[in-house]
Every structure is written in C-alpha cells, then in structure tokens.
C-alpha cells in the first residue's frame, strides 16, 4: 500500500497515519491523539482543504480511485473528524458530557 498522495498534495504525505478507511478508525485515531496532535494536523491541512475538496470534486462518486487519490480521500475524511474538536473549541478530543463513541457497537464502514 502506497503512502503517496497526488503530486500537488505531496507535502501532506507526512500525515499518512491519518489515511484511514473507516469512521471507526478515524474516530479512534482522534480519540488517541492529544489536542496538540490534533491542532498540528488541523493547522497543516486547513490551508489545503479547499484545494483537496476541489481536486476530489473532479472524480465522480463511485468511480475507481487510484491509490494516491484514495489516500487523499481518506485524509480529507480524517480532517473532518479531527476538525470538530478544534473548531468547536473542545477541551479534549472527546466532548465532555457526551456518551462515549467507543461504546457504539456498530459504526458505518465507509
């Protein structure tokens, strides 16, 4: 499995630990991160997110993806998972006074 990204997103390849396929994996990665980790990831990706979405908007939903494009897609999904605690100004990667996501026995595979 490659950890490459499409040419113009090469600088984001250092975030390959976030190339995660399922919501469960992306959530668990968020939960195991510190707020500093999340802030660093968020800060690195935020300036590139508009371009990332536009790049992937040229690919019709359901069309087969190259490995590089699939990595970029999963990275974009991970950004949305990680951005919620940051942009909503939480004190920790999980919201306080919230039912633990870990207790969801079944989560979407996508």
């Amino acid at each position: 499995m490659t950890t490459n990204l499409p040419e113009k997103f090469r600088e984001l390849e250092q975030w390959s630990a976030w190339f995660l396929e399922t919501e469960r994996e992306r959530h668990d990665k968020r939960a195991q991160s510190t707020m500093e980790d999340l802030r660093a990831f968020h800060a690195a990706l935020t300036p590139k997110m508009e371009e990332l979405i536009q790049y992937l908007s040229a690919i019709e939903w359901g069309a087969p993806l190259s490995d590089e494009d699939r990595n970029l897609f999963h990275l974009g999904l991970s950004y949305m998972e990680a951005a919620v605690p940051i942009d909503l100004k939480w004190k920790s990667p999980a919201a306080e006074d919230s039912f633990p996501v870990e207790r969801l026995e079944k989560m979407p595979v996508r």
């Binding site: 919501e23 935020t46 997110m49 508009e50 990332l52 979405i53 536009q54 790049y55 992937l56 908007s57 040229a58 690919i59 019709e60 939903w61 993806l65 494009d69 897609f73 974009g76 999904l77 950004y79 949305m80 998972e81 951005a83 919620v84 940051i86 942009d87 909503l88 939480w90 919201a95 306080e96 006074d97 919230s98 039912f99 633990p100 996501v101 207790r103 969801l104 026995e105 079944k106 989560m107 979407p108 595979v109 996508r110």
Partner: protein, 398 residues
C-alpha cells in the same frame, strides 16, 4: 396553551409518576402488550430492491429473529426465521439474494422466497402433514413511506388505521428513497426504553445538552426559548417542527463543508420547495427540521437534504438497544463526500450528547427517591407517550 399546537389533548397528563416504569413486571407488559401488538418499523423496502433479496434481523426484547424477503411478485413478506421441521434458524446470513429460496442447514428442508415449503428431504418417511402447514410462519407485514412495518398480533388494527394521519402515501412521496445509506450505529444503554423515547421527543433540552456541538442552532433572537412553532398530537403518534436560528454562528469547518454540499446541521437549508407535504409540514420561514414520533419506538428527524431515524428496542427493564441511522443525499463526487463527512460527524456527536444523560437519569429514577415528571407544554410529546402507553395497556386489559 401555546400557539401552533393542534390535536386532542384529552387524557394527557403533565404531572406523571414514573415509579412503576422500571419493574420486571412493567417490562414484560411493555413487551407483550405494546411491542407485540404495535406496528414496528424494522427496515426499508429499498434495502431489498430486487426479487430474491432478503435480510434477517433480531428484534431485541421480543427475541424474534425475522426474515424479510422480496418475492418474485415484487411483494415484501416477513417470516419467523425458523425452519418448520424442528426449529433450527433457517437463514444465518444478515442479508443476500436467493432466487431459489432457502435451505435449512440441519436436514435440508427447502423453502421458496415466498415462504412456502419447497422440498422435504426423504418426504415419504413423514406422516402426511400437508404442504401448506409446513410453510414458514408468516408475520403481518406492510410497507409505507419505504418503511417495512411488522405486527405480531393477528388481531391488531390495520396499518392505515394505526398510522392515522401519517398514513397517506403522498405524505413522504419520493422522500426516503433518495438518500445515501450509511449503515447503522447501535449501542446498548443502561436505561429503560421509555426514557430514551422521552429524550428524543422534545426540543426543550437543546439549550443545555448540546453545549459542545450545536449551541445556537435553534431558536434565535425572536424565539430564545426555542418554542416549537408547529406541533400535531394524534391518537398515538405526534410530530413537531423545530425553528432554525438564522443568526447561527458557523464554525470554520462548517463553512468549508457547506460550500461543497447541502447543509444538514447545525446550519439548515429552510427552503422546502419540491419536498412532499409531510416534510416542513409547518411551512416555517426559518425551518430547521421536523421530528416525527411513531409510537412506540421510532423517532424520525426530517430535513431538507437529510433524515435520521432512531429506534429504541427494550432489552431489559433497565436496558435498551438504541439504533440510529443518518442519511444524506447521494454525493455526486468524492469531493462532496469529504464535505458530507462533517455532517456525519457532527450528527454523531450531537446524538452522543443526547444519550449521555440517560444512564444517570435511569439510576436516579430507579432508586425510587424521586419518581415524578413535571412537564411543560414544550414537552407535550413526552406526556403524550404515556397516554399512548396507557391506551395500549388498557386495550390489553379490556
């Protein structure tokens, strides 16, 4: 009584004593007299698009395992998932397609997709029982608004009568079929099923419970207490609309996401043009979404380009299985799908806030130290739930 509330409120009590809710005896009565006699939504017909498609599922509490099929005639049918020979579970797969029908792994009895028995191994060795009697045990099954409803009581009223004002097929015409299915979330919560239904039946809690996800999404300057602008209370079911806050402050990630896909939450698209009459039924200027309560155990949230369904299945006197599913429109591109992820994540986090308090409330009420509810008009659908319960339980007695 506030404006916008319609319906017959006879028999609805705002001061309730819930002390008997948590006993084994009540639990068993809830299963026997409510769940085994109500029309229960268990799946969608679009999950079984083609003849031969089937799915199986266990219904917690009722402990039934059901097999739902689409026959060669296109009809959806439901059966107890049990071989008639000696009671083996017939179909072990969660879903699939089988135009040839089903075969029991124990002694090889076979059934057609319509539930009739097809083949009995070494048939001559059996005394004559008659073919018809050996078909799968069928369950009353009807489809409406894409939901597959089952009823385990042969004497129960028909689905049209049960649904009442929610029965007309045009109410949600074309609505539920046009979404991207994402799979279920399921969790077991140590709380009685009635408490879970109560939690999702009112908007009064939103000022406090959603403090980390959606602080300002409802209400607005002219409706600070987030009063429900439209509500219908029917015999068993109910619905209400929620008012969007036009001054909702967008998070950066929300702005990014909703540049590339339809708004879901916590910002809303209030334009309901082209939607069927059941959606934005209140025709609100600042419409957020509708909440539809289908007694006993389904709450649906319907918005411009999304819907959420939540099912509460009692599994013990103090425990329930809660299943919910978030649907958004089919994405056109992978870029739009990335943007939609924001809606999925924020919806999941909002739901987790709703679920958070329930186990603590269960502990507190189960102690018996305090057992009363003091409800407001904004919690009318909570109060009505107990009238619907009483209706089912008294019908059973009588």
């Amino acid at each position: 009584m506030p404006n916008g509330i319609n319906g017959d409120l006879t028999g609805i009590d705002f001061h309730l004593d819930v002390k008997d809710l948590f006993t084994e005896e009540t639990y068993q009565r809830d299963i026997d007299e409510i769940f085994k006699k109500s029309w229960l939504a268990v799946a969608h017909d679009y999950d079984l698009p083609n003849p031969g498609d089937f799915k199986t599922r266990k219904l917690p509490g009722l402990n039934y395992n059901v097999l739902i099929t689409r026959g060669k005639d296109g009809k959806i049918r439901a059966f107890h998932n049990i071989c008639r020979h000696r009671g083996n579970m017939l179909v072990c797969k969660a879903q699939g397609t089988s135009r040839q029908g089903f075969s029991c792994s124990y002694h090889g009895w076979t059934y057609n997709i319509d539930g009739t028995v097809k083949g009995i191994t070494d048939r001559e060795q059996f005394p004559p029982y008659g073919n018809e009697a050996l078909g799968l045990a069928e369950i009353r099954c009807e489809v409406r608004h894409s939901f597959i409803f089952l009823n385990f009581d042969d004497d129960a009223e028909d689905l049209d009568s049960w649904l009442g004002e929610l029965a007309p097929p045009n109410l949600y015409e074309g609505f539920f079929q046009n979404f991207h299915s994402t799979g279920h979330y399921t969790t077991t919560i140590r709380a009685n099923w009635n408490l879970i239904m109560d939690a999702f039946s009112e908007a009064y809690h939103t000022m406090f419970v959603h403090k980390n996800t959606a602080t300002d999404y409802l209400g607005g300057a002219d409706n600070k207490m987030r009063h429900v602008p439209a509500m219908d209370i029917w015999r068993l079911h109910a619905r209400h609309a929620t008012a969007a806050n036009p001054a909702h402050k967008w998070a950066d990630v929300e702005t990014l996401a909703y540049r590339h896909t339809a708004r879901a939450f916590p910002s809303f698209d209030s334009n309901s043009d082209g939607l069927p009459p059941g959606v934005d039924f209140g025709k609100l200027e600042h419409w957020a979404f509708d909440i539809v309560k289908l007694f006993p155990n389904l709450i649906m949230l319907t918005g411009r380009d999304w819907f959420i369904e939540g099912y509460t299945w009692p599994s013990a006197a103090n425990e329930s299985v809660y299943e919910w599913n978030i649907y958004l429109r089919n994405p056109t591109t992978y870029g739009e799908r990335v943007a939609q992820e924001f809606s999925y994540i924020i919806a999941r986090e909002i739901a987790c806030e709703d679920l958070f308090l329930l186990e603590k409330q269960q502990d507190a009420l189960e102690s018996g130290a305090v057992t009363e509810y003091f409800l407001s008009f904004q919690e009318l659908i909570v109060a009505q739930h107990y009238r619907s319960r009483a209706h089912m339980l008294s019908t059973a007695k009588g």
